[in-house]
Point group: C2
Chain length 332, copies 2
């Protein structure tokens, strides 16, 4: 009997999650029932959305129950299959949780095609983050060649892909990130046309300068104060893609709402929220396209990898502290 190292949520965080909100425990692996798979987890995706799942309030997914294994998108290898959908040795992705071994319903996971890209690229670029970038920018943002696309959290898992797709579509990509190191990453590694450092004293001036022709698409991963500032510069019929608000997720005070939302009236602009799960029927199309771009080198993928499931909390804090560049991943 193989043992399973699990991270369970044992208290609801107030503000930033503390180590004490989780318990690491070794459990035995349950029997695999008909229709289920036993999966060896390889990579776990660390996502800002995890913070919302820890709260006890209704959202697009139910809260993680207290005492339950922390929910996470992960990728792994099928060790044993009691389903006709998969066989041992197949790679699958889904909500496997923060644990080393998962028993899941075969219908709840999807196949990972390792001929498209290796699994470490799947977990970051061809999973939630890349798909969110793809559908958020192309479907909600509707960018046209020549337009200016501004991305907040541009060095993050989603943002690092949004800018590259914007460039492929002939747009001018402006990335907002914190610190000169990340800004260099945006322009030199990811190919953003301009990087703006929100920690710089002259941030507002930098952004105004980088958006001299206004903003046509603003892809927001962060929330205020960048959202409010971007609203000042939106062009007529601009599209604001609301993907996340990482600046607000650990806030214990009031959320800081966008005061400049009235610009949406003046500019007949649109602000629309996005949850990638709604696009499940089109995942295959997007995955194939992203993988093709990655293989041709038009999209580069960078991961920020932490080794070891017992470092989950530490890796999560790095993510919320804005210390990661590219996709934050936990390697099992």
């Amino acid at each position: 009997m193989r043992n399973n190292l699990q991270v369970r949520l044992i208290a609801r965080p107030v503000g930033m999650p503390r180590a004490e909100d989780f318990r690491i425990e070794e459990a035995s692996v349950p029997e695999v029932s008909e229709g289920e798979l036993l999966v060896q987890v390889r990579y776990i995706s660390l996502d800002p959305a995890m913070r919302g799942w820890m709260d006890d309030r209704p959202s697009y997914l139910p809260p993680v129950g207290l005492g339950q294994v922390m929910r996470a998108t992960a990728i792994g290898e099928v060790l044993q299959s009691r389903s006709t959908l998969f066989k041992a040795g197949d790679c699958v992705m889904g909500h496997l949780g923060v644990q080393t071994v998962a028993v899941v319903r075969a219908q709840a996971v999807r196949r990972v095609d390792t001929t498209l890209a290796p699994i470490d690229v799947h977990i970051g670029l061809l999973s939630t983050a890349g798909l969110t970038a793809y559908f958020g920018l192309l479907d909600t943002g509707q960018p046209l060649a020549g337009e200016t696309v501004v991305v907040s959290g541009a060095a993050g898992a989603v943002g690092s892909v949004v800018g590259q797709i914007a460039r492929i579509k002939g747009c001018r990509a402006v990335g907002v990130a914190g610190g000169s190191d990340k800004c260099t990453f945006l322009t030199d590694t990811l190919g953003y046309d301009r990087a703006v450092d929100y920690k710089a004293d002259d941030f507002k001036l930098q952004l105004a300068g980088a958006c001299a022709n206004g903003i046509d698409v603003f892809f927001d991963n962060v929330g205020n104060p960048v959202l409010d500032l971007a609203l000042r510069y939106i062009n007529l019929r601009a599209r604001i893609v609301l993907c996340g608000a990482i600046s607000q997720y650990n806030s214990t005070g009031k959320v800081d709402g966008p005061q400049n939302y009235i610009a949406l009236i003046v500019k007949r602009a649109m602000m629309k929220g996005l949850i990638v799960f709604d696009y499940e029927s089109r995942y295959a199309e997007a995955t194939a396209q992203l993988a093709a771009w990655w293989r041709s080198g038009s999209v580069v993928y960078r991961a920020d990898v932490t080794q070891g499931i017992e470092r989950f909390h530490e890796a999560l804090l790095r993510l919320f502290a804005g210390k990661t560049k590219g996709k934050a991943v936990l390697q099992v």
Copy 2:
């Protein structure tokens, strides 16, 4: 030579406009040049948007210049025409300004078809207010039969029409207004299914009760605090039509932004601004439809009429104080 009584903007208001920000003066009527019309103004539309036009900042229309006649949509009768487009006796509507007589380019106004409805219905229902309700609800809001449509400023010029169109489309219409008198107006005169009084102590409970099935379309004329509260109750894929923010127009402090905007992500909802001028090519269609509804009695029209151009400032304050029911109009 006939004289012209005019209201000119002579100072930029800070907060609520004061009487001293305007000057009433009698001017002589200029010569009518080729391509122009001399128009006897009959009804002047009083609109919340006027407040924005008084500010010296770029918007969807240039600011009214200091010393200039205050901009207003108005309706009048052609006294003299030097254009082939109109003849004396025709009725026209356009930016005639707050004055008794206007000289305007014939191409800048549109014909008023008095066989559809009398001119006092044109200035209120078949002008900016009614058209804004029509395009805002139907084009941006996309209401489906059985859905719940919530309208803020529901007793106002736009809101009083939105609820009635929502009912025609088979929706449940919930109106938010201030005071029991207005709430009675909503249900008894306009046919709203439910009226919610934002001045009542139990306003939040009232709104929650009226929206037990959630909100599918929120048509916002007001801004916070109603906007934030409505965001709490939006359904999946809700549409928020941003038409105005009258609660914020005379504010000298910070605009109160919607803290609950993150609900747009969770609910994959959309918030979109609207300026009716964008729909000019479809005004004829909308005017004919609104007039047909009015003639058949499916849409009732109520005006709040002030007599005399010299009472412009007083009438404007009534509007901003929320004292008007239906369309605020100045009769010349």
